[in-house]
Amino acid sequence: MSDREFAGKTAIVGIGSTDFAQLYRSTDPERTGESLATEAIAAAIADAGLEKSQIDGLITGGLPHYEPVAYRTGLTDVRFVVDYPGAGRMCAMALMHAATAVHHGLADYVVLFNSVVFRSQGVKFGAQGQGLLYDTIYGMASPGAQYSLAFTRYQAEYGGTEEQLGAIPVAIRSHARMTPGAIMQQEMAIDDYLAARYIAQPLRLFDYCLINDGAVAYVVTTAERARDLAHPPVLIAGTAGRANFREWYVDLGFWDEACRSMKADLFDPLGVTTDDIDCLQVYDNFSVSVLWGLEGFGFAPQGQGLEWVQNGRIALGGELPINTSGGMLSESYLQGWNQHAEAVRQLRGQAGERQVPDCDWSLYWCLSALPGASLLCRDGLL
């Protein structure tokens, strides 16, 4: 939803996260998604400066069932409840749902969250294939292998080297090193990236996102209510989705059509252009997702994204910083949710040494089977 009337009428007013690095260091077989969600929800409500009793909408994500977390948080009498499956691609969809709910008065203050216990439960993505196209019979396992397969095609069409691709994880790692709670704090140069083992060649270990535990929660309300709360409101300028369901997962055009469609939905009604975007907080499940989104949204010319990301352009201090808290490659695999939390910090001007100067607009995308995108901005711009 991205029409002019809706743009900027809703806002993210509270964010809450667990300490990803601490959870990563100390795995716990008894850790539950409900307790992580409770921690994040409490932090988000406190951040918004609200009373828990004011929350009347709940969107759950990543848990086996929506009810247990309601008991643990006392959010037992809310007016609006939706449960999303624990899939990363659902982040923009959940935000879209929360925004439309408060905009239309289905609830006044919606809490939404994603909570995952991957590392403590030994979850391995790809131990089984998706099973949609006889994958495992041929040994095709893991989303990473599917993105890797698409990258061989991309290289055949446009060229580009693995070393060039490494600029993406290297820049994002440099941001994690400035982020309290980010998991990957070790310095990583391009040689370190290239020295790491292949997982599904040509993708290497550091092209892959982390697998960890944690939760992130937001509070969403109308912009009008937001202006009375603790922090400067971060407006939801728009959200967009464009499914790309393929049995083989990846898009044969590197998500170009999905990106163009979402960009048109988000940018055109507002007259926003790529030049307006101050930072990207995007779904870096794999380094190549960043590359293809840069081309699809028109930041980089088609087929030239690998050259485009070189020489610090996407690092803090560069022309277009990407994933300024370390994204999913280096901060935390909270599936798009930590990216939106960082966008809120940047747009509030609360990102500390990571602060992007004069940060007015932040864009999110997720290129998966169910691409989604969102555009957030500071108050006063819409």
Partner: protein, 138 residues
């Protein structure tokens, strides 16, 4: 490993939707579902036509020819039974008839695999019931 009784890798769970596909493969024939209502050809073999939603499904003989759209070389043992073959290739083949299929390329070194490579189907009897369709350079 053709015909080995101890085939350890994953096998298809044959269902009402794809029984005829696997039965044909067993006879070393590559068939694709074809809609009797609108002529659409699709894969995998859903019981109904994704184009017009008709359940009037027939079968057409595929040429077995296609090109490699993309490939990856698996380096990590996600599936334990594939571990002895690491590194092995997985390819996404664009069939002449349109559908995309995952498979493995045989009779080629992994280093020689390239996107756009022309390939043809070969049949590998992996158990006494299941025959897998793989590809080789044509």
């Amino acid at each position: 490993m053709s015909g080995e009784a101890g085939y350890a890798k994953p096998l298809p769970t044959v269902t009402h939707e794809d029984r005829e596909f696997w039965a044909a493969a067993r006879q070393h024939r590559f068939v694709l579902p074809e809609c009797r209502a609108c002529g659409h050809v699709w894969f995998p073999p859903y019981a109904s036509c994704p184009a017009c939603l008709s359940f009037d499904r027939g079968w057409t003989e595929a040429s077995g020819r296609g090109t490699v759209w993309g490939f990856t070389i698996m380096r990590q043992p996600y599936i334990p039974s594939f571990e002895p073959e690491l590194p092995y290739n997985v390819v996404l083949v664009e069939l002449e008839e349109g559908p995309m299929v995952y498979s493995n390329l045989v009779s080629i070194d992994n280093d020689d695999i390239a996107c756009g490579l022309a390939v043809e189907a070969v049949f590998e009897d992996v158990t006494d019931k299941i025959t897998l369709i793989k590809f080789r350079p044509s």
